[in-house]
Structures are given as structure tokens and as C-alpha cells.
Symmetry: C2
Subunit: 152 residues, 2 copies
């Protein structure tokens, strides 16, 4: 599906605040509510919009100890890789996991309460998985920017 300028502007608004009403969008884009409504429904149907979520304040829910954990596997057999990836999905502390180029195989973004909780995660959960060669942790000192908003 090709997105025109109107679609992009709608997506921009929804990425910023998904609780915005069709009425408000129609007012801003100078189109009828129905037109906006149909476009949004189409964007949802086509899964351009993957989902709508609430973003929590990580500090207030006490999960603002963030660590980038670089993981290297022992060997890259198809089995090993798919096993590791399946297990990672189950670990609630891992919000993101990317297979990457470079010195390490994976980069995990881990959110926990504090260093103690991170240690526990490393020892009891991550390194408990089979096939982990080595890990290297990079700790967040400060969050400068953390957005979900893709500019179109």
C-alpha cells in the first residue's frame, strides 16, 4: 500500500497520541470525519498500524535500570540460533533483541529495577540458556531520547 501525504500526517498524529479523536484529526487536516475514519481503518486493516499501546514511565514503575547486553553464541548451528531466539522471547526483562553484525551476535535491551535485579537476570536467566558463549553489558547512565515515533 502506498501512503499519500494525508496518510502520513494521520500516522504522525497517531504515533504522537493515539487517543486523538477522528474529529480532531479531521479538523486539523481539513477533511471530513468519515474520510479520516476510513483511512485509519484501512491503515489498521493493512497492518501499517501494528498496534496501539500505553507507554509507561519506566522510572515510576521502577524499571529504569537499562542495560544493553551483547551476546555471543558458542556456535551458530541453525538449531542453536532458533533455540536461543525462542528462549529470549520468553524473558520478560528483555524488551528488545536484535541479531546484529559485528563482534557480537545479538544485542538485548534489558529493563530491570536495579543492578541486583540485573545480576539475577544474568546469572539465573540469560547465562542459564544453552549455547551462550559470552556476554558484555553496557549500562545506561542517562536517557537522552526514547521515542517510538517514526518520521515519515
Amino acid at each position: 500500500m502506498r501512503l499519500d501525504e494525508t496518510d502520513k500526517r494521520i500516522l504522525q498524529l497517531l504515533q504522537h497520541d493515539s487517543k486523538i479523536t477522528t474529529k480532531e484529526i479531521s479538523y486539523r487536516l481539513e477533511l471530513s470525519m468519515t474520510a479520516i475514519h476510513e483511512r485509519i481503518k484501512k491503515l489498521e486493516r493493512e497492518k501499517i498500524i501494528a498496534n496501539y499501546v500505553a507507554i509507561l514511565d519506566k522510572e515510576k514503575v521502577e524499571k529504569n535500570f537499562m542495560v544493553f547486553c551483547h551476546v555471543k553464541l558458542i556456535q551458530h548451528t541453525k538449531e542453536n540460533v532458533s533455540k536461543f531466539e525462542r528462549e529470549i522471547l520468553k524473558l520478560e526483562e528483555v524488551l528488545e533483541c536484535f541479531h546484529v553484525s559485528g563482534d557480537y551476535d545479538y544485542i538485548l535491551k534489558v529493563y530491570v529495577k536495579n543492578m541486583k535485579a540485573y545480576r539475577s537476570f544474568l546469572v539465573n536467566k540469560l547465562t542459564a540458556l544453552n549455547g551462550i558463549g559470552s556476554t558484555q553489558s553496557t549500562f545506561m547512565i542517562n536517557e537522552v531520547k526514547n521515542s517510538t515515533n517514526i518520521q515519515l
Copy 2:
């Protein structure tokens, strides 16, 4: 504010799908709509819920070329640092930026269309900023997990 189990379950549901109705939540948690409604309002008022957003399919909007860009500053004067951080906020390709421990000062998460766009970003935008010492790019080969859902 302290969160009890009910709050946590509500947040869990809203993190998964913010379009869920109070009615549906009240049904699942076996509480009245009023109770659920008041709790959600409080969670919003206290900014436990930071905001509601639409998440887009990065592939479908052609921004699925993701790079972790490690940045080292030349010198860490207060001025340099705050200038850099202010400028980063303006770069739309950078969705996330963390000041981190380790060999590099910052890790940026950059989403662009393809390698050509990334090169353009690096040359024209990032390294055009003053005070950048060096950068190192780690390219995403595959996205294993990418969630915004914090387990409480």
C-alpha cells in the same frame, strides 16, 4: 504511588492494547467499570502512563534498516555534552539515544530506509555535529523481539 496487583494487571492490558475498553477490563478483572475507570484516570494523572501511541510496522513504512550507532565525543565539557544532546533530539532518524558506560559515550538507535539513507544520515547529519570524536555502526540483521511492554 504504590501499585497493587489490580493496577499492574490494568497496566499490563493497556500496554498490550490501549484500545481495550473499560468494560472489557472490568470483565476480565471481575471489578466494576467505575473502579477500573477511576484507577486508569489515576494512573494517567500520576503519569505512570506516560502516553498512548500507535506503533507502526517498520517494514511497511520502509524504515526497517536499523543501526546501533556508537558515538564518542571529543571532549566531555558540560557545554559539548548538552549541545550534542540538544542536537540529537532534533534528528528524526534517531529514535533513541542513551548515554552509556563503556568504550563509547552514546548509543543511538537509528531507523532509516536503507544503507544509502544511513550513509546520508551519517555524513550530512551526525558527523556534521560539532564535537563528535568517532562513530561505530552495528547493523541489524534480524529483529528477534521488539516490544514496549514492561512486565510488572
